[in-house]
Symmetry: C2
């Protein structure tokens, strides 16, 4: 059932290239649909949100914001067991992210003071998918790092929150909840409407329309990344328990039919045994229909000769999740240079990272781990540069600056320096007026 390809196959390289270069292609219809929605919300505000929600979700939207009272009442219906688990998860996510520190710095020279200062973003929107799936964990994994960074206002947008999602929002410190979803929610956060204040950054995963809308508004508002289908690559050798590896591949596969579960097996026998386990466990899985489609469409076992090749493949694919179920797992994990999160050793199952360990589960997909990072405190901070010179310091550098400015043909730049460094002030000023 798990398609197998071998390092020794003549077309191995070309099949691998397809996996590694899986840059996204958004269907034109989705892109065009998202574009029309964004334009409508930008033009018509709340009225557009109401109309689109009625049209696309068959849902009336008497109030766009969920009142604090309704929010609390719904969240109160959550069992104490779930509430305790959410609170514990929040505590672990917070403790981990408090270690992600950024340091403002200063460079002082004679008459010169340069500095770089970090400040939190003022207002952030967290997109939480709704509908049949309920994702309280997404709230935790997005809102907690924002709050640790010092973001004053964290909004959640979601089309139909469950009590558990609302309880998670409470535990994570979310400030306001808006009952909109899809591309229209992204547009509302990006440009603001009468009910939804404009935010500085939008984070969190969503469907293809949400992803397309995020790409469209990128630049007008901050976007952490464009999420594609969720992925795992597990590198396993014969030291690994086949049942555990199979369980992780299936956990990945049950997300949705587009999920990507990849096994890199050191040796044919390892692939075989894990493949058998996948079939056995799949039959018992409540979400076997979805998981089975993901396994059949995207699932693959790649058989390689040694652990070194396995790790090289992980790096080449740069997956969202990389499982290292190899003997001496820690040493091999240290060689991973491109992955969102690395699960070291066979006890570190992906579900640990999804819910509980501490690092955010909002991770770069589609190979973007080559250049982007797990959602973290840094996503909610910005730097600003400060430049301060006295007249003597400016005079020392004036000629070199004017020289480069003239090379670029920008005499006005040269003049602005030379005026100060060499020119006469236009008027004599009293000392009391000086800075």
């Amino acid at each position: 059932m798990l398609r197998t390809i071998f390092q020794s196959d003549p077309d191995f390289e070309s099949r691998l290239k397809l996996l590694a270069d899986r840059a996204g292609v958004v269907p034109d219809s989705v892109e065009a649909g998202a574009r029309a929605i964004v334009a409508q919300v930008r033009r018509e505000g709340d009225a557009a949100l109401r109309e689109l929600t009625r049209k696309l979700e068959k849902r009336d939207l008497p109030s766009i914001e969920l009142s604090r009272q309704e929010w609390k009442a719904s969240a109160a219906r959550v069992s104490s067991e779930v509430r305790a688990a959410l609170a514990q998860a929040v505590e672990r996510i917070r403790a981990y992210h408090e270690l992600e520190r950024y340091y403002s710095f200063e460079r002082k020279e004679e008459g010169i003071r340069l500095s770089c200062r970090y400040l939190p973003l003022a207002r952030v929107g967290v997109y939480v998918p709704g509908g049949t799936a309920r994702y309280p964990s997404t709230v935790l994994m997005s809102a907690v790092p924002a709050k640790v960074a010092g973001v004053r206002e964290v909004f959640m947008v979601t089309p139909g929150p469950s009590p558990e999602t609302l309880a998670a929002a409470e535990e994570a410190g979310v400030d306001r909840v808006f009952l909109v979803g899809g591309a229209q929610a992204v547009a509302a956060l990006a440009y603001g409407t009468e009910s939804v204040p404009r935010v500085d950054k939008i984070v969190g995963p969503g469907n293809a329309y949400v992803a397309a809308a995020k790409r469209l508004v990128f630049g007008d508002v901050g976007i952490e990344m464009i999420a594609g289908p969720t992925e795992v690559v597990i590198a396993a050798d014969r030291s690994a328990n086949p049942a555990w590896v199979a369980a992780d591949l299936l956990a990945q596969a049950e997300h949705d039919a587009f999920a990507v579960p990849i096994l890199v097996a050191v040796g044919r026998e390892v692939a075989l045994r894990i493949g058998e386990e996948v079939e056995r466990q799949l039959a018992e899985l409540p979400r076997r229909e979805i998981a089975g489609r993901a396994i059949a469409s995207q699932g693959v076992a790649i058989v390689v000769d040694d652990a070194e090749t396995a790790i090289a493949l992980v790096n080449r694919i740069a997956p969202e999740h990389a499982g290292i179920a190899l003997a001496n797992a820690r040493e091999w994990a240290d060689k991973v240079t491109a992955a969102g999160a690395v699960f070291v050793g066979e006890n570190a199952c992906e579900a640990l990272g999804d819910y509980f360990a501490g690092p955010s589960h909002v991770l770069p997909t589609g190979g973007s781990a080559r250049f982007s990072s797990p959602l973290g405190v840094g996503d909610f901070l910005k730097r600003t540069s400060f430049i301060e010179y006295d007249g003597a310091a400016l005079a020392r550098q004036a000629d070199a600056i004017a020289c480069i400015a003239e090379v670029e043909g920008l005499s006005g730049h040269a003049r602005s320096v030379l005026h100060r460094a060499k020119g006469k002030p236009i008027r004599q000023r009293e000392p009391s007026e000086r800075t």
Copy 2:
């Protein structure tokens, strides 16, 4: 000439809102053009680069990469004065960025080891505009932070580099130069062609097609930001030298006809005197035609009653460059919460930041300083999370994890944890096989 609006104007708030909410609208024709170009390069590689360069730039492209020999020969033509100025600038940019540090961290608990590690991106592309304008400074301000971060390969793409730009590339440590520009260069870097290896991130400013292309490839490759027209907001009171403030507004205005020079003057008289200086100096400026158009179209003096209001306006506009030409400049600068770079006091002219002080001149435009940062070392690093648990630690948390997984309807996730924590292994393994 400098249009003036007053805090006391009845329509002050609405005019200000137009300035503050200046989110970009890319013309559909530009977007469509960039989209077609990106698709063609993705499909046809080098052949598309050659054809598009011939069609759009009337230029033949016998070799897409500039050979090291030609590069060195052209750069050798630069005067020793320019070479020295570039080398000095590189040294200052490097010294500043070496202070921008990121720290990997680890959280250890009993049986648990979580960590976050920073790694440099492997390969980065720097876009440098070409044609009539020559921008050696853009090379320095983009490539030096990348090299400080530890990026192994830095590529420069530019349609027709001057000797000065090539000398700057040499000084900044650029590894390879490709002679392509526009949306086609962005596509080549994003997806790779026969001659241009795919990069992990593309940085640097460009025209509207470049900006549109960067938005289109965002997600498949890293993008630092979408650059809009360059902007300055200078807050000045009567302590400021009107001639110097005017020179800075004009330095901004001479960039191009879309440049945005804004003065926030404390008191009518300050606006008047600076306005007079702008007119006087404009008449003498070599690029007076361009600067005059920028002043006429985007230039504005906003008259406010006090410095506090001036700073509030700076924050609301969140400009690329903020000049603080106010008495007690440092104290007021400390209150700036949204700007790319802040020029503190009237000696800190923008040209200092453009060429020489140290912080990168690649700065967030269009109000994106609300959520994004000057280009820096952090843009060329990525984080990866590592999660390692032993069996006992997993067992302690298994119930809480399974509880959240079940709330989300993801039983496969719950099983992957419970299998390990509570289930029997499928087969007994020899101790020697264990991790």
